[in-house]
């Protein structure tokens, strides 16, 4: 009965109900969009870093990461490689020979990290080769081929086909130097990376370091990023002489992106929910004052205060539910649409970003768990902000308002 009255009340004032409905829909849409956008941005940066070089799981000599000693290569790497081939979670993997050293051109000297890669393995595992701007990704017959960032090439005043000298320690602790030919240039999203990392063939580098084929790092992409930890611990159980780590342990930068993004999203969401709550509160309050006479009349003819409170709350609940459903539908459609076309940040003032290799188009992503969590958050926010106006309605003195 009361619900019926509430239902009729809503339709008696279509404009007022409409604007409340609009506010709830907007709030729901806003909450889900914010979450989808920030998720999408984080996922994008994540995938860039993971797919380009970090990968899901990496294996090293247990102390290599801190010491970076060339002698700390992975012992019995053949067995590990066999084992990885047998794991069905592993999509693909690659092995790298690493060294820290100096690069010399006739003009100047700079410190560099040298990565010796197995070209075919690397190409099937990471997307780094897509960053090549000149030449081929070490895919040549040239002896001692080397690929460097354009940034570094500028610094060294070097170009394609020129020779540079790399100096680095060997596994015996001696220093060795060798001439390398620049066969390609790349440009990644980070100019700092470009100025510090050079790539050579793993076979060339490990010959110089140890006189045989050695790898300091085995990196793998999995079919599902969530199985990173399981795979890492299986490798650690199987091979106690190496250490497998997930991207989460390897890259503080990725952890930073994840956590910083989360806390910023929290504050943005907080502000939006507060804005929504006050919008609803003010509109409802105004509506109650407008309905003073009507409510006073109901009281005067004998409707109890409790029932009036309930009646108004029923109205709010019905409005909220329909608003929430419409808002979720709208947000779902927006996300579906934007998830395909993307949001071009360049249009919002990030024009110069693409020059730096940033992907300016962000594709919002939302998980169903987030979707539901936000839906509940919005509904609770709206209902809580409806309580005060309904309570205010109880304070009406029928004698005063009816006389107006």
């Amino acid at each position: 009965m009361l619900i019926f009255i509430s239902w009729r009340n809503i339709w008696r004032h279509p404009a007022r109900s409409g604007v409340l409905l609009g506010a709830i829909i907007a709030g729901m849409w806003a909450g889900i969009m914010v979450s989808g956008l920030t998720n999408g941005m984080m996922e994008q940066r994540f995938n860039n870093l993971i797919e380009e070089s970090i990968t899901h799981v990496q294996i090293h000599h247990p102390e290599f990461v801190t010491e970076r000693d060339p002698d700390m290569f992975i012992r019995k790497s053949d067995e590990i490689i066999e084992f990885l081939r047998s794991l069905e979670e592993v999509h693909s993997f690659t092995a790298r020979t690493l060294a820290g050293g100096m690069i010399q051109s006739p003009q100047t000297t700079a410190g560099v990290q040298i990565q010796g890669v197995k070209v075919e393995w690397e190409k099937s595992t990471t997307t780094f080769h897509e960053n090549m701007t000149r030449g081929d990704y070490l895919n040549t017959d040239t002896r001692n081929a080397l690929v460097m960032g354009e940034e570094l090439a500028d610094k060294l005043e070097m170009e394609m086909g020129k020779r540079v000298v790399l100096t680095f320690p060997t596994a015996d602790g001696e220093m060795t130097s060798a001439a390398f030919n620049i066969t390609g240039l790349y440009r990644s999203a980070s100019s700092q990376f470009d100025a510090q990392q050079v790539f050579v063939r793993s076979s060339d580098l490990s010959e110089l370091i140890a006189g045989e084929t050695v790898y300091h790092e085995i990196a793998m992409m999995l079919n599902d990023a969530d199985s990173s930890e399981v795979v890492a611990s299986r490798i650690n159980d199987e091979f106690p002489n190496v250490k497998a780590e997930t991207w989460y342990q390897i890259s503080p930068e990725l952890r930073y992106i994840a956590d910083f993004g989360n806390s910023m999203t929290f504050y943005v969401m907080l502000v939006i929910m507060l804005a929504l709550a006050f919008g609803i509160l003010n509109t409802m309050l105004m509506a109650i004052f407008e309905r003073m006479r009507e409510l006073g009349m109901l009281m005067a003819v004998g409707m109890s205060k409790g029932r009036i409170f309930l009646m108004i709350m029923f109205e709010s609940i019905m409005l909220t539910c329909s608003g929430a459903i419409a808002g979720m539908l709208l947000a779902y459609l927006s996300i579906q649409w934007l998830g395909d076309t993307g949001i071009d940040m360049a249009a919002l003032g990030g024009e110069s970003l693409s020059e730096f290799g940033y992907d300016t188009v962000v594709y919002p992503v939302i998980t169903s768990a987030d979707f539901m969590a936000i839906a509940i958050l919005v509904v609770v926010t709206v209902l809580v902000s409806a309580v005060y106006p309904s309570y205010k309605a109880l304070k009406i003195k029928p004698a005063d308002v009816v006389r107006e």
Binding site: R16, V19, G22, A23, A26, G27, A30, V34, L37, T38, R68, G100, M102, Q107, T108, T109, A110, G111, K155, L156, T167, P169, G173, M175, S190, S191, Q192, P252, R255, Y256, A258, D259, N262, S263, Y267, V268, V271, I272, A275, L276, F278, G279, I280, N282, T283, L285, M286, F289, E290, I343, M345, A346, L348, G349, G350, L353, F356, Y358, T360, V362
Partner: protein, 405 residues
């Protein structure tokens, strides 16, 4: 006349006005808060990066940017120093550096090292370098060095041991020297901690055969707002020579890009917030209009021109918008001051990682006049736009229906 009428109307129903004004006020507060923490997080990032890396302004030889070699170190004598110092009133102090990459050998191990010739006092003023000393001290003595803790570990060196540096000095001359380690600093950034060697400026210049020369001069302005001005004035004073002035935007293009990207996404979030805020204000104004339809209908039927009534209602909204924005300014100033003094603290791994870098894991609110100006103006414009609803309603109102209530 209209003004008076509108003013009276506002105060005739205080409750109604209060609600409308407060919805505008909250809109201003929320919009300002969101922009302020975004700006604050940027300011923190800029300050941290400039303090630990590049400084706000750097003076270099114009060839050094493309070719960071000792060959492109520039003469930094008393005359040059005075010329730069007197160029601008905004300069607080100067930090000279000479840097190059060398091989460093301990007893058994040899590694690459970043060798930096510094003035420890000035460096300390810039980034509290001395507070990172875990052992010993910076010494002004001949052939002494301070090395980073990670580097010391890798080379198995400790205080009192000697360190051999080997590399290329200016114009290809051999640079080699033996140094006594007088101190160890534990630097927050791992990459630096694993390869830094500090020499005094004089020792480094002697080692590199670069008498009185430096590769970079960091200029710290009195405040971050004076960066542009100071850079311009220095550039004017040293124009014509081989020197060039760089601001942090030129030195840290990656940071600038990251911030731009962040700004673009914040703009999008702002847009979403405006939708919510807009509905909030629209809701109150619409409900207010409905409530007053009887009054409007009555006024029109007793002969008030619709246009006149509309101007009165418009003036009312104008007043309320002004009061709303002004009170929004008032309260958000308190809110921002509070969050500036008690910055938001980040939690979880992000905090840990930022601390590892030697930064504080906080986001203080930023207070800047353009935030006030832009957000105030925007919410004001939004309110005025929304006020067209009651005006439209007045022109289309059916008086018979409205006054029958």
């Amino acid at each position: 006349m209209y003004l008076k009428l509108a003013w009276r109307n506002i105060w005739r129903n205080k409750r109604r006005t209060l609600i409308t004004v407060s919805s505008i006020m909250f809109a201003v507060i929320f919009a300002m808060f969101l922009e302020s923490i975004e700006r604050g997080s940027h300011n923190v990032a800029i300050e941290n990066m400039t303090r630990f890396h590049t400084g706000y302004i750097q003076v270099q030889d114009y060839r050094f940017e493309d070719q960071p070699s000792l060959d492109n170190a520039f003469l930094y004598d008393a005359e040059q120093r005075n010329q730069i110092l007197s160029a601008s009133e905004s300069i607080n102090y100067l930090v000279p550096r000479i840097e190059t990459f060398m091989l460093a050998a301990g007893d058994d191990v040899t590694k690459g090292a970043m060798v930096l010739g510094i003035d420890p006092e000035k460096e300390d003023r810039l980034n509290n370098l001395k507070s990172h000393l875990v052992e010993g001290a910076f010494s002004s003595g001949n052939q002494t060095a301070v090395i980073a803790a990670g580097f010391a570990e890798r080379l198995e060196l400790s205080r009192g041991d000697s360190l051999v540096l080997l590399g290329q000095g200016r114009f290809g001359r051999t640079a080699a020297g033996k140094f006594e380690i007088t101190g160890i600093v534990d630097l927050p950034m791992r990459a630096m901690n694993n390869q830094m060697v500090y020499l005094s400026l004089e020792n480094a210049q002697r080692l590199f055969s670069a008498d009185q020369r430096i590769t970079n001069l960091l200029v710290t302005p009195n405040s971050p707002q004076q960066v542009e001005q100071a850079a311009r004035e220095i550039a004017e004073a040293i124009s014509g020579g081989d020197l060039r002035v760089f601001t942090w935007q030129e030195l840290l293009p990656d940071l600038v890009e990251a911030l731009n990207f962040d700004r673009a996404s914040t703009r999008f979030l702002m847009g979403i917030l405006y939708v919510v805020i807009g509905f909030g204000i629209f809701g109150t104004i619409l409900t207010m209009t409905l409530e007053r339809l009887y009054e409007f209908g009555m006024l029109i039927s007793i002969g008030m021109h619709r246009a006149k009534l509309a101007s009165v209602v418009f003036l009312e909204t104008l007043f309320m918008a002004i009061i709303g924005v002004a009170s929004g300014y008032f309260f958000s100033t308190f809110l921002l001051l509070y969050f500036k003094a008690n910055p938001i603290e980040l939690g979880g791994d992000a905090a840990e990682i930022i601390s590892e870098y030697g930064f504080d894991p906080i986001i203080p609110a930023a207070i800047a006049s353009d935030i006030y100006l832009f957000q105030g103006a925007f919410v004001f414009a939004l309110s005025i736009l929304i006020s067209f609803y009651p005006i439209m309603k007045i022109f289309t109102l059916n008086t018979m229906e409205a006054s029958r209530k």
